[in-house]
């Protein structure tokens, strides 16, 4: 354990990094308690530390692993704060016992790297990476990228990527330190592991914000990534495609830049590759590119992507199906022509099998795709109805819970909105009961608003439609939603509009009666109006109206003379004989009693 003084520069670099990182782990492992042992105060220039730990490769992997600690911590944090307490499965000495001084134990790096590889390591990434940034680890890692040994380069790149992935400050630091041009240059020359690591770094930097992605584009990374897309190794292609996808995600200028670099035909070739992961990533990248504008979607379509995407819907892998459906829906959403192109690729009725998939997100994306197609024109909606799409979507809505239902609900609304025949088709396919249950059960306001809107679209066409909606007694629910102060603005607005639309056509009196009692004046107008239209012609309804207390309620309504409401009330009153109207007017009993009092009996 003697100090070896004559260390080559490479070893020195590695040793510095190692000591630094080990001490850093130690520090972080103690959860930021600033316990300063003498060793930790002087992390640098301590070649002795290098001695204690053997193996250069292990040290570097320690560096990479520290970066790995961060993601595992995040994952563990998501799982739920058990990892900070003692509940760690199979964690060997991940946290070196506090009493042992930092660098004395020879197994230190071993513990560090074991920690990285096996456990949910309690490395608080926030404090940790701030600590790291404070000391400028990026500038430490940067010269390692130029190292002679390829392993060191690759691991350094990996470490950079991991650090940048979870923290956008570090990503900015990566950009500021001019590491990107270096990476880009070496992307074209190096072997496939380096390419993968470099693509990972680019992806990590590009994911955080459009400015960082712009910085990546400006240093010419796109051409290099596109060249990587032509590589033989599927891992390299995947890394490059992923990086391109994250860049193109932010806005349409960046997407346009990616398309201008010629990525789209290569991505379409990548989709045809046999590896599932590569297909997934390529599909997700195409989805990100085409989501911004119709021209970009058209570019993707021109490269012939739709046929391959349509074939991949049959693939059993759930995540791949998700991405493929999302890509198709992003293409179809822009215009009628694109939607027709997607439909011509014969996705129906295959897409309907996705609605029965066990994975929820496949169902959601399938419903989104059908929605985007249905919303453009009545002919497309007709086509979907003829293919049985409405039934599949309705079953899907019935079987899911939560936001997964939302695209399905909107699809029903769009289909019903186009014409009354389509709306009748939705009713006939038993579409209304799931919508009602959705309205009652869901907790989120926006889903309820969507359900209310869809019901309004279904019921607004003719009295028959309104009757079908009203028979399910959903009008009361809509009214209560409108009146509830806790509902959001959007929900109240949509509920009111739906209610109005349905009421203006509703002639089904048993459903209207309960509403008479609670409705506010602006809704009351419509209800009373409908009564005034139906009652003059139907004697049974008149009788029912009286016996159910509706006439009494109508008398109690105070309306300004000359307003529409008053006219309706007059019309209703004219349907009945005078005495009946007087009998039910408010205060009649008092009036009678007064007459009794004032009566002089004739002896």
């Amino acid at each position: 354990m003697a100090v070896r003084a004559d260390l080559s520069p490479a070893r020195l670099k590695i040793s510095f990094l190692q000591t630094y990182l080990c001490s850093e782990t130690e520090r972080s492992a103690r959860r930021g308690h600033s316990v300063g042992t003498p060793r930790e105060d002087t992390p640098r220039g301590h070649p002795a530390a290098a001695v204690r730990c053997g193996g250069t490769r292990r040290l570097l992997s320690a560096g990479a692993v520290i970066g790995a600690a961060a993601p595992r911590y995040r994952r563990a944090r998501a799982v739920g704060g058990r990892q900070l307490r003692g509940d760690r499965r199979g964690t060997p000495p991940a946290v070196p016992p506090p009493r042992a001084p930092a660098l004395r134990s020879p197994t230190n790096t071993f513990t560090v790297h074991r920690a990285g590889e096996k456990s949910r390591v309690p490395a608080p990434s926030g404090r940790f990476s701030r600590g790291i940034k404070g000391e400028g680890v990026i500038s430490l890692l940067r010269p390692l990228l130029l190292d002679v040994v390829p392993t060191i380069q690759q691991t350094a790149a990996l470490a950079l990527g991991r650090l940048a992935y979870f923290n956008d400050d570090l990503a900015e630091a990566v950009v500021k330190e001019d590491i990107l041009p270096q990476l880009v240059c070496s992307l074209s020359e190096q072997n496939r592991f380096y390419k993968k690591a470099a693509a990972f770094v680019l992806r990590a930097v590009g994911k955080h914000s459009p400015q960082l992605a712009q910085a990546i584009v400006e240093c010419g990374a796109l051409e290099a990534l596109v060249i990587c897309l032509e590589d033989f190794d599927p891992g390299v292609k995947e890394g490059a495609a992923w990086a391109l996808g994250y860049i193109a995600r932010h806005n349409s200028e960046l997407s346009q830049a990616v398309v201008d670099a010629g990525a789209v035909p290569l991505l379409v070739l990548c989709i045809q590759e046999p590896e599932i992961a590569l297909k997934r990533i390529a599909a997700s990248t195409l989805s990100d590119i085409s989501k911004h504008s119709p021209e970009l979607a058209q570019t993707v379509v021109d490269a012939g992507a739709i046929a391959y995407l349509a074939q991949m819907i049959l693939n059993p892998d759930a995540k791949l199906k998700c991405q493929v459906l999302s890509a198709l829906s992003q293409i179809a959403k822009h215009s009628v022509d694109l939607a027709e192109l997607v439909v011509e690729a014969e996705i129906f009725p295959v897409v309907l099998t996705c609605m029965k998939d066990s994975d929820e997100y496949v169902k959601k994306n399938g419903a989104t795709l059908i929605r985007e197609i249905a919303k453009h024109s009545p002919e497309l909606s007709q086509f979907i109805v003829n293919a049985g799409g409405v039934a599949a979507v309705i079953d899907c809505i019935g079987s899911c819970k939560g936001t997964v239902r939302l695209p399905g609900i909107m699809m029903l609304g769009y289909v019903a909105a186009h014409s009354e025949n389509l709306s009748m088709a939705v009713i006939v396919s038993k579409g209304i009961p799931p919508l009602c249950t959705c309205l009652l059960e869901e907790h989120e306001d926006h889903i309820k608003a969507a359900a209310a809107w869809a019901l309004g679209q279904i019921g607004r066409h003719t009295p028959e439609h309104a009757r079908a909606v009203a028979e399910t007694n959903v009008l009361g629910t809509l009214l209560s939603m409108y009146m509830d102060i806790r509902s959001s603005e959007d929900l109240q607005l949509k509920a009111k509009r739906a209610l109005k639309n349905i009421l203006q056509k509703c002639t089904y009196l048993p459903a209207l009666e309960p509403l008479l009692h609670d409705a506010p004046p602006n809704i009351m107008k419509h209800i009373v109006g409908q009564f005034s239209k139906v009652l003059p012609h139907d004697s049974k309804a008149r009788r029912l109206f009286v016996t159910s207390g509706g006439l009494k309620k109508v008398q109690e309504i105070k309306a300004e003379p000359g307003s529409l409401l008053q006219e309706y009330i007059n019309t209703i009153n004219n349907c009945y004989p005078e005495e009946v109207v007087r009998y039910y007017s408010p205060g009649y009993s008092e009036m009678l009693l007064e007459r009794v009092e004032n009566y002089q009996p004739v002896l």
Partner: protein, 338 residues
């Protein structure tokens, strides 16, 4: 003479009388003249007025006649247009009736055909039923597949465990843990152990621990082997004495990537030769027998039938292929393990 004197006295006054007479006549002349003019002008005026009156009457009569003529014409026209309008209204009415009927018929039959709509909606519900059934079947099929896969996985795991723990098999002397003497019949695990072949003692290759870093990549199924064949020399080794080159240089040279020239990278044979070789290989591969193809069945008439091996054996039926095969002879096995 008295008359003359009288005349002479009057003579002196004659000139004056003559002058005065003429002068009075002159003095009256203006008045008389003016009177005459007045009378004449009045008379002329009467004449002219009479003439004008006459002209007026004539003009009135002409105009009267002309105006009557125009109005009658106009009236005739008016009547014609009124009649025309009446006719057109009538035609319009009739046309509206026809169009009403036609439009009602057309709309009811083609545009908003109630019965077609009803049928369509019934067809839709039928189609929905079919689609729902099919989707249900598809979902069930998927479920079954998944269950089957899970079951198979469990089976495989069990079998693997049994193979690993073959030593727990019970022997004649010692009953194994799954074959307790107090049980009526052995545990299923015991039976499984009896059937399984012991797992051979395989050397576990020491997996390099640094490959775990790269396992996170989705397509990484095996740890990527870095191009370093041997581990790097440990740090702190003393610089070897002697005329050795610097370690970094050596490493750089060792790991210099291969950059073959085009000639080396390309294969030796040209595409033409490769194609030829390919053809030859195909022929060798596809050739089943060397018999020449004889075109007509008459060529095969005098061929003698050759008995197969099975039939031509004198001793008896050949047991190979029926009773035993070369590879597997379970009756020769020591233990009845699969």
């Amino acid at each position: 003479m008295a008359a003359l004197v009288r005349l002479e006295t009057r003579l002196s006054r004659l000139r004056e009388e003559y002058f005065l007479k003429n002068r009075s006549v002159d003095e009256d002349r203006k008045i008389v003249y003016k009177a005459a003019v007045k009378i004449q002008s009045w008379f002329r005026g009467c004449r002219v007025r009479a003439y004008l009156r006459y002209l007026n009457k004539m003009a009135i009569s002409i105009q009267k006649w002309w105006r009557g003529y125009q109005s009658r014409r106009y009236f005739r026209k008016m009547i014609k247009t009124a009649y025309f309008i009446m006719k057109m209204n009538f035609y319009n009415e009739m046309a509206v009736r026809i169009q009403k009927r036609w439009r009602g018929y057309y709309v009811r039959k083609y545009t908003h055909n109630y019965y077609a709509l009803k049928k369509y909606l019934e067809a839709i519900s039928l189609n929905n039923e079919i689609v729902r059934n099919e989707l249900q079947e598809y979902a069930e099929m998927n479920e079954k597949k998944k269950k089957k896969k899970d079951l198979e996985k469990k089976e495989k795991e069990k079998k693997y465990k049994a193979r690993k723990m073959h030593y727990l098999l019970s022997t004649e002397q010692i009953a194994g843990i799954y074959n307790s003497p107090f049980r009526k019949f052995p545990d299923p695990m015991e039976l499984l152990l009896r059937q399984s072949k012991p797992l051979s003692h395989r050397q576990q290759q020491p997996k390099s621990p640094f490959t775990y870093d790269l396992y996170d990549w989705p397509t990484c199924k095996r740890p990527p082997a870095f191009p370093t064949g041997e581990p790097l020399p440990p740090i702190g080794r003393q610089k070897p004495q002697g005329p050795f080159r610097d370690a970094a240089e050596v490493l750089r040279q060792r790991y210099k990537p291969l950059e073959p020239t085009l000639r080396v990278a390309a294969s030796i044979s040209s595409p033409l030769e490769k194609a030829r070789e390919e053809m030859k290989r195909e022929e060798w591969r596809k050739c089943i027998h060397d018999n020449e193809f004889l075109p007509f069945s008459s060529y095969h008439k005098n061929e003698k039938y050759e008995l197969s091996i099975h039939a031509s054996e004198k001793i008896g039926k050949e047991t190979y292929g029926i009773k035993h095969f070369r590879e597997v002879q379970p009756n020769k096995w020591i233990a009845g393990k699969v």
